[in-house]
């Protein structure tokens, strides 16, 4: 365990439990520090860096599951899985703990796998140092309440998940990326609708509007070679290099709103955006919008609220982080109740 002024680096769940049990005051859990969406930490908060808890406990190819520590980096796990013909079939990088706690992208395709569907169970530590487990290591389990599902998107405010039990998928026998650039709004939506209507859609698909107002639709077909080739032909797509984009580039002065929209609500959302605002929509429903300034963001959030769309700021000056469309009051009350129940002293910030 390493502890320097303001930063602690436990090397195991036991060390983390001991550190938290010492009541160190406010604590900010940190993975690789790659997330931008979090509320600013209070100045006196101890940063608990979890990237030192980083063992891959087991990879079970026969069962298509693995158990990994929260600090394992995505690329490290991917390399191990690749060697065994497996993959973690959701996008996103950083540490595994950070990816699941922030859930910034969701699924890469309509109905596709996402952190919440891949998380089978956890071993975790409460803010007071109590260790607990939820879920299981096997692919099917309904024993007990799924407390582990609360990890996804919790941003480290409920508990520290130190080990994650994950569902894996076989690496596809063949795959091919495609990208159609420079198309207009209507053409992009038509192509997305055609891809969405397939019985087997691309395993990754996204749509981006670039600053010049043009649209790009890109994705990947995966499966057997014959299927991949036939799918590209069916939609008149040409094979290209991998071009997936997890996030929009944060602007120097502007802000980024993250939201969610179905394909059917995309035209309505696009109509709310300032012309030329960069926009990125993942096939699973999550989207990002770059806004030129705070005033424009406020107008957009108000319009999204009126259209029953959900979004919040993920890149902004610290005092504006956390702004978003309203969460329904009863929902918010439950969210706060869960925070109070699991961290009654508000230690995790």
């Amino acid at each position: 365990m390493t502890t320097t002024t303001g930063v602690a680096t436990p090397r195991s769940a036991a060390e983390l439990s001991t550190l938290l049990g010492q009541r160190p005051g406010r604590v900010r859990l940190v993975g690789s520090g790659s997330r931008q969406a979090r509320l600013p930490a209070p100045p006196m908060a101890l940063h608990m860096a979890l990237d030192g808890i980083a063992a891959i406990e087991r990879l079970d190819a026969a069962d298509r599951t693995c158990s990994v520590d929260c600090g394992v980096r995505r690329e490290v796990l991917d390399a191990e899985l690749d060697a065994r013909g497996l993959e973690l079939p959701c996008p996103g990088g950083g540490t595994l703990g950070g990816l699941f706690a922030s859930d910034p992208i969701g699924a890469a395709s309509p109905g596709g796998p996402c952190p919440r569907s891949l998380l089978l169970g956890i071993e975790a530590v409460l803010a007071d140092g109590t260790r607990f487990r939820s879920g299981a290591r096997v692919v099917k389990n309904v024993a007990g309440f799924d407390v582990h599902k609360l990890l996804v998107g919790s941003a480290g405010r409920l508990f520290a998940a130190t080990r994650l039990h994950l569902r894996l998928a076989p690496a596809p026998r063949a795959s091919q990326w495609f990208e159609r650039r420079g198309i207009d709004h209507d053409e992009a939506l038509t192509l997305l609708a055609a891809l969405r209507a397939r019985a087997v859609p691309p395993d990754r698909v996204q749509c981006e509007r670039t600053p010049d107002g043009a649209f790009v639709v890109r994705g990947r077909f995966a499966g057997r070679a014959s299927f991949v080739a036939a799918s590209l032909r069916e939609h008149g797509l040409t094979a290209g290099a991998a071009a997936w984009c997890d996030h929009l580039q944060p602007p120097t002065n502007g802000e980024v709103v993250a939201g969610m929209a179905t394909l059917g609500s995309l035209p309505g959302l696009l109509a709310l955006l300032p012309p030329g605002s960069p926009f990125l929509w993942h096939g699973g429903g999550r989207c990002e919008i770059t806004m030129p300034d705070a005033a424009a963001t406020d107008v957009l959030l108000a319009a999204m609220t009126a259209h029953r769309l959900h979004g919040h700021l993920v890149h902004a000056v610290p005092e504006r982080r956390g702004l978003g469309t309203p969460v329904p009051p009863a929902h918010r009350r439950l969210d706060e109740g869960l925070r109070n129940a699991l961290d009654p002293h508000g230690i995790l910030v």
């Binding site: 969701g106 569907s117 096997v138 309904v142 007990g144 998107g153 939201g259």
Partner: protein, 484 residues
């Protein structure tokens, strides 16, 4: 002052409040018939507003209540205590909205699982989770139990198909979770995820938004009959190791095959086979053709006695008829059936089956096995005469040991049936006091007074590993070391 029953009648009318002992008989248990209890009353609301009004009344009077769908649960989840009111949602059976563009439907909780698929079939869509009881079980019950089914190996459990819900909380307030664009709002906790599988203890879903799947171009169903169970399991391992994810991988053992073939669910399974493996492949025609050839090769490699492929939809239905009717066919074997629901890592299936057979012999119970081999989800079924207490005790003791075996092999005490009241005494095999305390805290947020489906999922504090709810005779049957 009006009695509670009179208040309920004022809210719903006399025809939708049942209180006479005869009328309540049908609600005394679910598919887990070991635990029976006639509720105080049954109410039949037809809207979210009526559910909220009833729950507000019950909350105000401190009356426990239990939501219920079709009562097909196999773990005692919707079985109510004598002081509790059952809120039966069977009359809330409207499909409220269907979106073909975004492929979702909004349904009331009483919509029958298979009826939803029937409602969207003409659009080339279906609802994927398919519990064996899908012709009668409801979407609300599926959501509460996080139900599975044969096709969840490829398509996932109910939680993977629910996008959101309108929920009446145990204090009568109403909250909406999720959105058609996703089950978790981007700046909120995953309430849809934690609610799904909470077994009716967190509130009552009155509208559920579910994902619909596009029908696949081709479906191929293959049957392999094997001389040994190990050969069937090895074939499953080969299929998975080859990177395939069939829609379903189901195995029936010899005793089950014989029960099925002697019943109205007769499917033409070879009665001399030690195991039958059903493999269903779906997808684009060319892909399914390639996969079917590989599956046939694996069956041959493992010495299949027979390999059969359904030529058309009628034959496919026949092959599935035996599997879907397997539990019903057990009715021929004895008066009662205890359906277990353990999970083991797929790679340890053979080991688990050997152990289960040994446990069956030890306790002298009639054991049959039907299971979701792709998921490692075992359903050992014990046929017995529930009128015989000694026999019942041996059955429960065998069940206890089988679930212990599953946990010892790295698995779970329930893959899809839930804890309910049945497995309260087994939860301690998987979770310790700290784990259960965290779960209790979460339940307390939704259900602080504990009125909503009390006594389910979590054992009483300090009693998690003790078979306190069982007949005393069970404890005598179990050896002391098995009380862990």
């Amino acid at each position: 002052m009006l009695s509670l029953e009179r208040h309920l009648t004022k809210l719903l009318g006399s025809g939708r409040v049942l209180t006479t002992p005869d009328a309540l008989l049908a609600w005394e248990c679910d598919g887990f018939t070991v635990h029976k209890s006639r509720p105080r009353a049954v109410v039949l609301p037809e809207s979210t507003a009526e559910v909220a009004a009833v729950v507000t009344l019950l909350h105000g009077t401190g009356t426990p209540f239990v939501p219920r769908g079709a009562g097909t649960c196999l773990s005692g989840g919707p079985t109510a205590g004598q002081d509790a009111v059952v809120i039966d949602l069977a009359r809330m059976r409207k499909v409220l909205q269907i979106s073909t563009v975004d492929r979702f439907a909004v349904v009331q909780p009483g919509v029958v699982n298979l009826d939803l698929t029937a409602a969207v079939r003409h659009l080339g869509l279906h609802y994927a989770p398919d519990p064996s009881s899908q012709s009668v079980c409801t979407i609300g019950g599926n959501f509460a139990e996080n139900s599975g089914g044969p096709h969840c190996f490829k398509y996932g459990m109910t939680q993977d198909h629910v996008l959101g819900a309108l929920v009446v909380l145990p204090d009568g307030s109403i909250v909406r979770f999720g959105d058609p664009a996703g089950p978790r709002l981007p700046h909120a906790l995953d309430l849809t995820g934690i609610f799904c599988g909470s077994e009716g203890t967190f509130g009552i879903a009155t509208e559920i938004t579910v994902r619909l799947c596009r029908d696949q171009e081709a479906i191929r169903t293959l049957l392999g009959a094997f001389g040994t169970m190990n050969a069937a399991c090895r074939t499953v391992s080969d299929i998975v190791a080859a990177g395939m994810t069939p829609a379903a991988l189901e195995i029936l053992d010899q005793a089950t095959i014989r029960a099925v073939e002697a019943s109205v669910y007769r499917a033409g399974y070879p009665a001399d086979a030690a195991a039958v493996l059903l493999v269903e492949l779906d997808g684009p025609t060319a892909v399914v053709d390639e996969e079917a050839a590989e599956v046939r090769a694996f069956m041959a490699k493992n010495g299949a006695l027979r390999c059969e492929e359904a030529a058309d939809a009628t034959e496919r239905k026949r092959l599935w008829k035996g599997r879907k009717g397997a539990f019903g066919a057990m009715g021929r074997l004895n008066t009662d059936l205890y359906v277990l629901d353990g999970v083991v890592p797929r790679s340890r299936l053979e080991e688990a089956l050997v152990g289960i057979a040994a446990i069956g012999s030890k306790h002298r119970v009639l054991l049959t096995n039907v299971f979701h081999a792709g998921d490692g989800n075992l359903h050992p079924n014990i046929s017995y005469d529930g009128r015989d207490p000694e026999q019942t005790a041996r059955v429960l003791a065998a069940g206890h040991e089988i679930l212990r075996l599953c946990v010892d092999l790295g698995g779970s005490i329930s893959g899809e049936h839930g804890i309910g009241s049945e497995k309260l005494d087994h939860v301690g095999m998987m979770f310790d006091a700290a784990d259960l305390e965290v779960m209790a805290r979460v339940r307390g947020v939704f259900n602080p007074r504990g009125l909503c489906n009390p006594g389910k999922v979590l054992p009483q504090r300090g009693a998690c590993a003790e078979p306190a709810k069982w007949p005393a005779m069970v404890a005598k049957v179990l050896a002391p070391e098995e009380h862990r």
